[in-house]
Structures are given as C-alpha cells and as structure tokens.
Amino acid sequence: MSEIKRMDLEYSQLDSDRMRINVGPQHPSTHGVLRLEVEVDGEIVTEVVPHLGYLHRSFEKHCERMTYQQIIPYIDRMDYISAMNNEWPYVMALEKMLDIKVPEKVEYLRVIVSELNRIANHQIAVATFGLDAGAFTPFLFYFRDREYIIWILEKLSGARLLYNYFRVGGMAADIYPTFKQEVLDVVAKVRKTNAEIMNLLIYNSIFIKRTAHVGILTPEVAINYGCSGPVLRGSGVAHDLRRDEAYSVYDRFDFEVPVGKGEVGVVGDSWNRNMVRVNEMEQSCRIIEQAIAQMPDEGDVTALIPKRIKIPKGEVYMRAENPKGDLGFYIVSNGTDKPERLKARGASFVNLSVIPEISKGYMFADLILILGSIDIVLGEVDR
C-alpha cells in the first residue's frame, strides 16, 4: 500500500472563508448534466457533493409498461456511448430464462461488436480525459478513429450510436460481405493511433504531472464502494467478468486483464485508471482478431428470434463487463410479455459514488481530472 499524498487540509491556521461552487449542470467538464456542489478553500477542495437526477427518465419504471423486445432500444439510452455492451446482459438474461442456446456465429458476432464498442468507449474516455487536462488534439485523433468503428456498427445495425442490434436468440441483421476485412483494418488503425497517443498524451510530462498521484483510490476503498471496470482495475484489482465469469465464448480467447501497475505515479491514481483503458483497447483488439479468425462463416444470425416472448415466471440476474464496469440486469417475470420489475445496476452510478471520497484535499483542477478518470456517462448514472 503506497502512501497517499494530499494537501494538508489543516495547512493554515488562518480561518479563511470557504467558497461553495456549483460545478454543473451546465459546465464543460462534467461530461453531461452532473452537478457537483464543491466547497473550496482557495484552490483546495474540501467537500464534494454530487447531485444527480438531471437526466432521470424513469427507465426502470418505464420498462414495466413495455414488452421485452421494446426494452432493447431503451437500454441503448442508458450508457449511450457503449450501447452494444448494454444490450448484451439484458439479452443474455432473457435467453437464460427462456433457456435458448444462441448459435456460435451469433456469439462471435456479439463479441466482435461489443469489443468494437468497448474500443470506441475507451477512445472517448481517454480523449475526454485528455481534454480535461487541456490537450485538445488527442481528442480529435481519437474521434477520427472512432468514426471508422461507428461506420462498421452502422453498416451492421443501421444506427451510429444507439444500435438496437441485439435480439433475444440472435441479432437483428447478418454481417455484410466485407465485414471481417473492415474490422481488421479498424483494429490496425486503433493500434496505430494508440501508439501515437502514447507519445502525444500518455507519457507527456505535463500530463503525467497533472494526473499521477491525483485521486488515489485504494483497492480497499474501491471494493467497499463497489467500483468495477477500469476504475477498480486501475487500483490493481484484477476483476473482469469476461475472464472471471466467462460468459458467451470469452473462455476461448487469449487475453489479459490489464490492471494499474503504478509505472508512473502510484496504483489507483488517475493516470493508472486511464492507462488501464488504453491497455484494454489493445486487449480488445486481440479478442477481435481471434474472434474474426474463429467466427464460423455459415449460419443465419436471425433464425432463432422469437416473434413474441413470454418469459416464464421467475427472476434472473445477469451481468456482463461493460466498458465502464459491471452492468447487471435483475428481471422479475410474472409470466407475461412484460417484466414485473426490472432493475439495472449501472457501473457509472456506483463508480461516481467514490468521487467525494477520493477528491477531498486535491486542487480544484484535479477534481475535474478525477471525475474524468472515473469515466461516467450521465445516461447510466440517472437512468
């Protein structure tokens, strides 16, 4: 356990006035409509209170009035940056209750689109994190590359952001002829840009000065708060549902679970959290390459999709590794075509709760970076 360096809150005997600032809901760096009520002593943050609910859309209640298929596009709106990954645990949960075994090709296709979307998500996360630190150019480099991923997903599903591509028992549409080659091209592009970003941003000395030793999240605190995803792995805890609870066909791939190693700064600081995402992009590239190689060519991905779903009475909880962390769906079925109750466990919401704990005592500018390194999306926080 490394030593935590923070500004000494009792650094001054002078009783200076503390100022309360509302950061958000309209603020360039809150990544949406989050409001942070911040108390600062000069430049030093003494208290942070996140206020949520500006984007609350009653997702869970709304689901009780919709059939199971109608919920899928609505789930896209939770973590709208990684919609493919969102749909997966929900669809898996229904398949589990219906006891459907999806074809091999579907499993591989799901892995490929989800990993592509994971790369796109991490690109945004790293890009906006750089933007929070004041580096504008990496942001556009990543957005340029993300466009290629979006084009592929658009060709598959018809939508750029909110795909509505997963179906119970299959996918909405089959792949197109040049799909495999295009995916491999994108993987090459992702690697090339990442190598460039390493020099431009990640190992830039100003960036290291800004992010290393900032917002240190110890593994104990991370586990106590229920953090997951890169936030937890940045603290050195190797927890990845793709490996630990290998769902779908993830047990067939050879990939590593990147954790914060503290090569710069200490384990659990903002730099390491961010680095985990960069490393995960490389691992996703590896998974995609293997999946493309193993994916069977024949087979119809739309064959098994039922027209009406009546889920047998019962309940199920299914979770999967979202780019932001564990995304779980708890579904209670009453035997009709609509869920009795649906509860989503969003990683962003849980990860956000750790902000007040880890940002006290840092500078005001650091708070923005800590928030950026947590990588929240307000659609999932508020649901």
């Binding site: 603020h27 150019t137 480099f141 830039n204 005001f364």
Partner: protein
C-alpha cells in the same frame, strides 16, 4: 534626436502625423489579429488532421471576419449583480495595456512609434496593466469562476514577470541599452550577431552563447505564461473554470479580451524578436537589408514566434496552478538568475 520615424521625417511633427503614428500600429493589430485568428483555426486544423473552415471565402480565409461580425451582433450582457463600471471598463483596460506596448516596438529601422530610451522597461511596466484589467473584469463579474480565474492570473503574472524581466535584463547588460531600436541596431549583420547567439563580438562570445540560448527559451516560456496561452492558460482553464475571468463577457467586450490576447501574443513575440532574433535585421548580412525589408523581416520573425505559440497550444496539456508556480519560481527564475550573473560577469571581464 535620431531618425526613428519615417512619418515624422517626411511630414514633420503635427497633430495629423502624431495621429497617423498612433493609429498605424492599431491598423496593424487589427489586421494581424484577423490573420492570427485564421492561423489559429487553420494550424489547429492541420495539426488535428482536419481542413478547418472552408466555406467563408476561398479556403475559409474570411472566417475571422465572419467571427468578428458574429461577435458584434451578439447581445451585450451585463450581469445584474456585477459592479457595472468596473465590469464595463475592464476589457478596454486590458486592450489598452496590450496596445500601449506597441508604442516602443521597432517595426523597422525607420519606424518605431516612440523611440524612448527605456523601451524595454516601458514594455514591462505597461504589460502589468493587463493584469489589473483581468482582476477588474474577474472580480466585477460577481462570478466565482471569474474570481478564481482573476486571482490565478495575477499570481501567474507576478511569477512570470520576474524570469522574463531577468532574461531581458541580461540582454540589456549585453547590449548596454534599453532602447529597443539600439538593441536591434547592435545585431546588424549576419544571424550570428543576434543576441540568441551571443550578440556581436569576437570569438570570446562563445562563452555566453549557452546562456543566451537558455535565456531565449526562458523568456519564451515565461511569455507563454504572460499571455495565458497553453500550457499556462490556467486563468481561463476551460476544463475547470469554464472560461476563467471572462466567463460573463459576451459580444464585443469578449472580442476585446480576444483581441488583447492576440495583441499580447504579438507583443511578447516582438520583444523576443527584438532582443534575441535580431529585430528588423536580415539574417544574411546586407541581403534584403533596409527599412522596408526590415519591416518584412520583423513581422515575419514575430509571426513565426506566434505560430510556435499556436503550435504549442494545440499540442500540450495544461499545467496546474501550483505546478505553474513551481516552474516559475524554482526552475525559470534560478536559470534566468544564473544566466544573468554569467553574462554580467562576461561583460565585466571584457
């Protein structure tokens, strides 16, 4: 009085020529600011693999004019609880501070608006007026972000004036003049006579070359901080302070801040050019040397520095406020001090 101003030489000194001398740099600033804005748009686009503005005029060259027109059209907002007088005064004070420095900038051997003997001193004295405007604007806005931005700005300005002033002072020692025209004249000849390469003199100057090089870099870094440019743009640090001290400003008042920033960029670039890069001298001896060519060389060199500032802005992340203080007081200041002492010693021995 030496020849400093072709307008006075040709038409004598009267109210009209004085007005002409005053407004010539203003005309220059306006045109320059438009070109600099376009350069910022285009250079940032090329760095980021975009094409930049393309619709307004051929290759988007009229974009800055469109932006200024847009800003003029915007509603001029004064916050209810602001201190009205100070709030409205601040943009003008900032621009005045930036523009007043142009009085001593030697554009050519035949044109410097006011060839005073303490030119460099004057630039530093007048440069601090901008800080006053920033504090006025930030505090009078009655906005917490603006206030924090203003406070940061002042602490930053104080930290960076000192290394910058020390760097300039070393060259003053070397040139034994504070008159910017004199300093430019001292560097006449080939480019190795520039003060960045130790200034004119025999081979013994190799001892000061490392120091003058270090000073040029020190001054350049300090000047980035003085103009609030990345990586030192923390007074307006948009990630945390929205827009810093000018958060509340809109329309033409915001444009004044904008103009002042670009004017300041040119001022520091012009000082760097004058004291380190030979001012209006041609780099190649008598080749293309003369009053008109001089203006060309001076503006090209200064604009090159401005382009480097833009290049840096779109490449680097931003420092944090305490790291900026650290860099100013614990890195740049000692470096500048050592160089200053070494150069003084060299001049004394010689």
């Amino acid at each position: 009085m030496e020849k400093t101003n072709f307008i006075w030489d040709m038409f004598g000194t009267n109210i009209w020529t004085v007005l002409a001398v005053i407004s010539l740099p203003l005309l220059f600033v306006l045109v320059y600011a438009l070109i600099a804005i376009l350069a910022e748009l285009k250079v940032s686009a090329w760095i980021q693999e975009r094409v930049g503005p393309m619709r307004t005029g051929p290759y988007g060259i009229l974009q800055p004019i469109a932006e200024v027109v847009k800003l003029i059209q915007k509603e001029d907002i004064t916050p209810d609880l602001s201190s009205k007088l100070l709030y409205n005064l601040a943009p003008f004070i900032i621009f005045t501070g930036a523009y007043a420095a142009f009085a001593v900038i030697p554009f050519s051997e035949a044109f410097v608006p006011a060839g005073i003997d303490v030119g460099l001193f004057y630039v530093f004295a007048i440069g601090s007026i901008s800080a006053m405007g920033i504090v006025m604007g930030g505090w009078a806005s009655n906005n917490k972000y603006s206030l924090m931005g203003a406070m940061r700005s002042v602490s930053q300005l104080i930290s960076y004036e000192i290394p910058a002033a020390l760097a300039v002072l070393s060259i003053v020692v070397l040139a034994s003049s504070m008159n910017m025209q004199e300093i430019s004249r001292a560097q006449t000849g080939w480019f190795w006579n520039w003060f960045i390469f130790g200034g004119p003199g025999d081979w013994t100057k190799v001892w000061v070359v490392p120091f003058t090089l270090a000073l040029a870099i020190t001054y350049f870094i300090a000047s980035l901080a003085e103009t609030n440019r990345v990586p030192f743009d923390i007074p307006e640090g948009e990630s945390e302070l929205v827009a810093g001290f000018h958060t509340e400003y809109s329309g033409m008042k915001f444009a004044m801040f904008f103009f002042a920033e670009y004017a300041n960029m040119f001022v520091v670039a012009a000082i760097l050019t004058t004291i380190f890069l030979g001012g209006w001298n041609s780099p190649f001896g008598d080749f293309m040397q003369g009053p008109w060519w001089g203006a060309m060389w001076f503006i090209s060199k200064s604009f090159f520095i401005v382009l480097i500032q833009i290049w840096i802005r779109w490449t680097l992340p931003r420092y944090r406020v305490d790291q900026l203080m650290y860099l100013g007081w614990k890195v740049l200041l000692p470096v500048a001090l050592v160089c200053f002492l070494a150069i003084s010693l060299f001049v004394m021995i010689k």
